[in-house]
């Protein structure tokens, strides 16, 4: 009798057994680190000395300490330079590719390769070879009489160079846009051109409004990634010159793994996390004002 009941319970909840690995992973590798990080962020946890006191200093310092505040501002600059440039480039090229272009697959591949390889260390090394002060771009342009800026030693150009590395990888966003553009019905364009609308009018009044869900999706994912950029500044500039490319994730790394101030690093990570959540929330909240979903009634 009892075993029968037990069997029935198992039968009704058999799906649960399939998600057990996920549940363990969620608790051990996600939830616990997440919560413990919140706890550590209020302590002076040092990897070798442990916790000696509880404090709010870590959080205050993010905004009061000059170097940390600078890093926060740079991270914003980086994200707000990179994401719009990347999305505009991606949408523009996807729009052109969506006309009946011969060799569309060839072009798509050419644009997509940087995205697939761009995250690797090899490409960061290449970027350094191109942009360092005695690298290809400066030397080759000097040879034909054009003076290029010092990308590596001039603080404002250094950040721009790091941005370029990511903008160069607009291919993945472009592929997503291209798939969305294919879904826009041709009838709409035909109707518009009969009404005398030019290509640009069509683009801004038909194409853009119809693919807002995809623009929204790309915007959120790109912002979240940009705020976490690490490889570029770590490998190419080491955060320099004068801390001008020390993005938040690099600052967190330095605090945690070169000076072992785990508490401080956790607090910085939580500030970054809070910023990301605010942007994601704003994006979700604002989408009802500008995102058009075709399958909704009355909109």
């Amino acid at each position: 009798m009892k075993t029968k009941k037990k069997n029935k319970f198992i039968k009704n909840n058999v799906g649960f057994f399939f998600v057990i690995p996920w549940l363990i992973g969620f608790c051990v590798f996600k939830a616990y680190p997440f919560l413990s990080s919140f706890f550590y962020s209020f302590t002076d946890y040092n990897l070798f000395k442990g916790i000696t006191k509880f404090t709010l200093e870590n959080y205050a310092n993010v905004f009061m300490n000059a170097a940390e505040r600078k890093s926060l501002i740079i991270t914003f600059k980086y994200a707000f330079m990179t994401v719009p440039l990347k999305l505009v480039a991606a949408l523009f090229i996807a729009y052109i590719l969506n006309f009946k272009i011969k060799g569309v697959n060839f072009f798509r591949t050419a644009y997509y390769i940087p995205s697939i390889l761009g995250g690797s260390v090899a490409i960061a090394v290449l970027w350094k070879a191109l942009f360092q002060d005695d690298g290809l771009i400066r030397t080759a342009f000097a040879a034909i009489g054009i003076e290029m800026p010092h990308f590596m030693s001039n603080p404002s150009w250094a950040l721009f160079m790091i941005c370029l590395l990511r903008v160069w990888q607009f291919g993945s966003a472009m592929v997503i846009f291209l798939a969305a553009l294919k879904g826009v019905s041709n009838d709409l364009y035909e109707a518009a051109s009969i009404d005398g609308a030019g290509k640009w009018t069509q683009f801004f009044h038909i194409t853009v409004p119809l693919i807002t869900p995809v623009i929204f999706y790309n915007l959120v994912t790109q912002l979240v990634q940009a705020f976490q950029e690490f490889n570029g500044p770590y490998i190419i500039t080491k955060g320099g010159p004068l801390g001008s490319t020390t993005l938040m994730s690099l600052l967190i790394y330095n605090n945690a793994f070169t000076s072992y101030n785990m508490g401080k690093a956790c607090a910085q990570a939580w500030v970054l996390f809070a910023i990301l959540m605010v942007f994601t929330a704003i994006a979700f909240w604002s989408q009802k004002h500008w995102v058009y979903y075709a399958d909704e009634d009355g909109r």
Binding site: N13, G15, F16, F17, F18, V19, P21, W22, F26, V28, F29, K30, P33, F34, S36, S37, Y40, I93, F99, I101, A110, I113, P114, I116, L117, G119, S120, V121, A122, I123, A124, V125, A129, L130, D134, G135, L136, A140, A143, W168, G171, S172, V175, I176, L178, Y217, F227, Q228, Y234, I235, S249, I252, Y253, A256, F257, M262, A265, C266, A269, F273
Partner: protein, 298 residues
């Protein structure tokens, strides 16, 4: 009168035709110019690996004047210690391949469980799973390091800190992608299999997995790319030079050689991404389909 009218009409037609041709030309010019900018750095890189060090930075021309394989010969040499580029690449794939396999198995199990069954706590767990899509890795790096340090996984010769978590479906993107795919597969076949006496696990292996294959291949390809490009993971969790993967090795070779031996550094870099380039060209349609269907980050 009628004559002038037809004349203006044909003029107007000619003008429209001219305009159409101009816009087609403009499109191709933009595509080609931007495309060249996109691919040029990669082409230059390939050329530079065959150049003399004195030539590398002097010209934008990617074709070497006096081709040499010295860069590649040097790239094969060790920097000292028992690590070279081949050893490093072997190290890379010794954790990338287990990561890919374990990620796929655990993600398929999880997606199947969530998409095809109802059970106690299903909805709350599903919500928690979806929330993980929005949990940025940056907030987890430090506490995960502390946890793995406690487990004794940091510096493990078997890359435990990199491999073990993948056995527990920690890549939420893939679960999400697989669930989306599963939703479009009708349940008829599974019901038929159940009537034929298949249990749920047999149904998964014999019915679901074959139908999920396109999505599984996409996930495996992306996981392969991300894992072999991963830099921060090995930077934190691998600390014996003999165990360094290619990403760390390339970074160190750049630091060691900066300033004088660029053809060696670039050759090392290029060798390290060759497998990825091959995988991409062999399977580019799967990449494009995967990214357009599931909306994968990239």
């Amino acid at each position: 009168m009628a004559n002038t009218k037809t004349k203006t009409l044909s003029q107007a037609q000619a003008r429209i035709e001219r305009r159409r041709i101009t816009s087609v030309i403009v499109r191709y010019v933009i595509l080609i110019v931007v495309g060249l900018i996109m691919v040029y750095p990669l082409i230059w890189m390939v050329g530079a690996t065959f150049k003399q060090n004195s030539e590398i930075f002097t010209t934008l021309n990617p074709i070497p004047k006096e081709p040499t394989t010295q860069g590649y010969i040097d790239a094969m040499k060790s920097y000292g210690g028992n690590i070279n580029i081949w050893r490093a690449m072997l190290n890379t794939y010794s954790y990338v391949i287990p990561e890919v396999v374990l990620t796929i198995i655990s993600s398929v199990l999880t997606a199947y469980g969530f998409a095809r069954f109802r059970f106690k706590g299903h909805d709350i767990m599903f919500t928690a799973m979806m929330a993980m899509l929005f949990l940025p890795q940056v907030v987890l790096n430090v506490p995960q390091y502390l946890l793995y340090n406690k487990f004794g996984w940091v510096g493990s010769p078997f890359y435990l800190a990199l491999i073990v978590p993948t056995a527990f479906a920690t890549e939420t993107y893939f679960i999400f992608m697989l669930i989306q795919f599963l939703r479009n597969i009708p349940k008829d076949l599974e019901e038929a299999a159940a009537i034929d006496g298949c249990n749920t696990l047999q149904t998964l292996v014999r019915i679901i997995v074959p139908m999920l294959m396109p999505a599984i291949v996409s996930c495996a390809l992306f996981k392969f790319m991300w894992s072999s490009n991963d830099f921060l993971g090995p930077l934190l969790y691998v600390n014996t030079p003999a165990k360094y993967p290619a990403t760390i090795f390339v970074k160190l070779s750049m630091d060691a050689d900066t300033g004088f031996n660029w053809n060696r550094v670039l050759a090392t870099s290029l060798i390290s991404i060759l497998p990825n380039i091959c995988v991409f060209f062999a399977a580019q349609n799967q990449f494009v389909d995967g990214i357009s269907a599931g909306g994968v980050k990239g």
